[in-house]
């Protein structure tokens, strides 16, 4: 441990605000969430931030740390500290409620907008649907299924920044997993919802979402899958019908 203290700049305010510097003692294996918690408990109890599980399961503690969106609970200070400084800000591309807490409503509404929810045609009285684990659809769905909705990809996406109505990587990734769910009955509706310039066809394939996803999911690949599926459905039709 070279320095005993960290200089931590933390965003205070809402959309308008400023960075305020705090001095936080360094500890071995300290995470960025530990730093924020220390500030809130010992230095300034008015600091607002969001967390729940502290172990990378819930996806609620994502913030912009030294300019990059990350889970603060799974980021050790030693991995990213620049000298003895840290800069902690709320996630980009989302309205700030206060300090480090953003309003996630638009992010989750876009999941709904992308028909990012399952609807089947079986009831509890039917037998279980049998989906072969090795089938192509199941494998494609598996690749994107572990998303926990932390918003890191959404905050890292420059297309979201340029086109506020763009659905974003998380919602489109979810749409792609459902497009590969053989039990789902809303395929045409979903394809219509995620087609075009507010949907998958606006993606620049820049890959920031894939680069930064803490779960190592590749939304860029999911979006590429959607682009091809939907463009073909628009021109030639699909097994669910024509768009």
């Amino acid at each position: 441990m070279s320095n005993a203290e960290l200089k931590v700049k933390v965003w205070r305010g809402a959309q308008e605000g400023e960075f305020v510097e705090y001095l936080v003692p360094r500890n071995p294996n300290q995470t960025v969430l530990d730093v924020v918690t220390y500030i809130q408990r010992k230095l300034d109890s008015t600091l607002s931030y969001r967390f729940a599980c502290r172990v990378g399961m819930c996806g609620s503690c994502a913030m912009t740390v030294n300019g990059v969106a990350r889970w603060t609970c799974r980021t050790h200070v030693s991995q990213i500290v620049e000298g003895d400084s840290l800069e902690i800000a709320p996630l980009n591309n989302l309205p700030v409620i206060k300090d480090l807490a953003t309003d996630m409503r638009e992010f989750f509404n876009k999941w709904k907008g992308a028909v990012g929810f399952f609807k089947g045609n079986q009831t509890r009285h039917d037998d279980f649907a049998k989906v072969e684990p090795d089938s192509k659809e199941r494998q494609l769905a598996n690749a994107g299924i572990e998303c926990i909705g932390c918003g890191v990809c959404y905050a890292s996406c420059e297309v979201v920044e340029a086109r506020p109505n763009y659905l974003g990587p998380a919602a489109l990734n979810r749409a792609w997993t459902l497009a590969n769910d053989v039990r789902d009955t809303q395929q045409l509706e979903r394809m219509r919802a995620v087609a075009g310039d507010a949907g998958c066809h606006a993606c620049h394939t820049q890959g920031s979402c894939t680069e930064r996803c803490p779960k190592a999911i590749e939304p860029t690949a999911s979006i590429a899958g959607l682009k091809k599926l939907i463009a073909k459905a628009a021109v030639r039709g699909s097994k669910w019908g024509k768009l």
Partner: protein
Amino acid sequence: MSSVLQAKLWYAQRISAMVLGICVAIHLLIIFYAIRDGLSAQEILGRTQGNIGFAIFYEIFVIACFVHAPIGVANILQETFPKSGMVRPVSILLALLILVLGTVAVFGVFTGGA
């Protein structure tokens, strides 16, 4: 613009990009071959005048540009100046310019400007 039309445009741009990739490669090879003994207008016209294969190849090149470039420019304009209202007129103008000027050029070297 409907999202289905946007999806179709994306597909058209994708297909035209494939055509352009092949056309650019052939075009570059032709350039390397053509300039091996120096370059003059007479030499070029000597090869291209009355050569229907040449004219067809370059007209395909022009059509691929006509499809590809305006869609891309429209996307860039839409993201850079979302409220300007100039996306459609500028991209249509660009498409027409590429098609007309490109075809005139192909016609010119095919007939030798006669």
